[in-house]
Symmetry: C2
Subunit: 214 residues, 2 copies
């Protein structure tokens, strides 16, 4: 390509630094992406029209296609951004408390939004898994990049819990880590199905109690 300036990769979006400057974008790309995320999160991919997106993002049609490519690319970027944010939060809560079991409890309780509207949206990642299953390679790959991160941190904390005597040494930590991740998706789907805060808290506590040595 001729006449192209240097490229800087910042936060997954390509910032072109052209030799000759062009008209600057009028909207906040990150804000628009966040707004798009909310729509996809609430309604899923197929049920979200580009018109829905334009209204929520408060930009024109051509701006969407200029800045994000197309509907699918926007969805993938929204989901990736969402996963990055939530995974970071999960890891923080898991690793926060000094007690491993308290960390796991914080992880599970952290999934449960107090606000009814927010809680009823469930988890966008779970929604994506349910909508596309194993049918979309790009989503499978994205999932494969996110899930193991939390998994290994869980294994770590579970080992730590065994060393501290909080968790039975006979328990297989990999199985336990998978079980906790399954519990997370179970909680998210229960939330999406309309479960209340108390019911979800009870579920989370019950699950954590199952890991305690007695």
């Amino acid at each position: 390509m001729e006449g192209e300036g240097s490229k800087l990769l910042i936060n997954q979006s390509i910032i072109v630094n052209p030799l000759i400057m062009a008209r600057p974008r009028e909207f906040d790309r990150e804000l628009a992406l966040e707004r798009a995320t909310r729509v996809f999160w609430a309604k899923g991919y197929a049920s979200t029209s580009t018109e829905d997106l334009l209204v929520a993002m408060r930009i024109g049609r051509q701006s969407l296609y200029n800045a994000f490519g197309d509907k699918r690319a926007l969805y993938l970027e929204a989901l990736e951004r969402y996963q990055r944010g939530t995974t970071s939060g999960h890891l923080q809560r898991l690793k926060g408390p000094s007690s491993p079991l308290a960390g796991i409890e914080a992880l599970l309780l952290g999934l449960i939004a107090e606000d009814d509207g927010q809680r009823a949206m469930g988890c966008m990642g779970v929604g994506a898994a349910s909508e596309f299953g194993t049918g979309d390679p790009a989503l499978v790959e994205l999932r494969a990049k996110v899930v193991p991160v939390l998994f290994s941190s869980l294994v770590e904390r579970l080992h730590e819990g065994q060393a501290r005597g909080e968790i039975d040494l006979a328990m297989n930590v990999e199985d336990a880590a998978s079980f906790i991740q399954m519990t997370m998706t179970g909680l998210q789907l229960a939330a999406r199905s309309g479960a209340g805060v108390d019911a979800l808290h009870a579920l989370a506590h019950f699950a954590v109690d199952r890991l305690k040595i007695d």
Copy 2:
């Protein structure tokens, strides 16, 4: 309405017995409904076009609208039929073994299809919950009619497990029943996400082991 004969309500579909007979249906309604179910199950509601349905059901467009109303009515009937079938299977497996914990184990293992294609479809009910959340009153109502049936049977078997000394008397059986139902959805979603038979079996066994007195 004039000239209308008696109505018999059979299996949720209205069988009209008109005074004057009309042209009989050429296709098997139940078979067509089963074929429609597979499509909705695999792809979800929004991503399924009426054309998809016609091809799978092997009927003409007008036949679909005559026999089932419209796309939404067909979906609701398919989901209801699906739920009736699966719930019946769940109850059978739960109540089959003489040991309550073995029943719960059979319930969970029974969710895991051996066939890869079938397993990767997950559960249509879970898919519906994920796709519509609490947004569709008809689906919320349908769920509210199905979930408590299994729940009360679970409570029953858990009580029985406590009486037999398989389960700790200190365990709250309602919490445990909810936990098992959450585990079921977690398993279904893991299956939809591509988990293999072995991984799912391990998850099921781990969950059941958490209920055992030690």
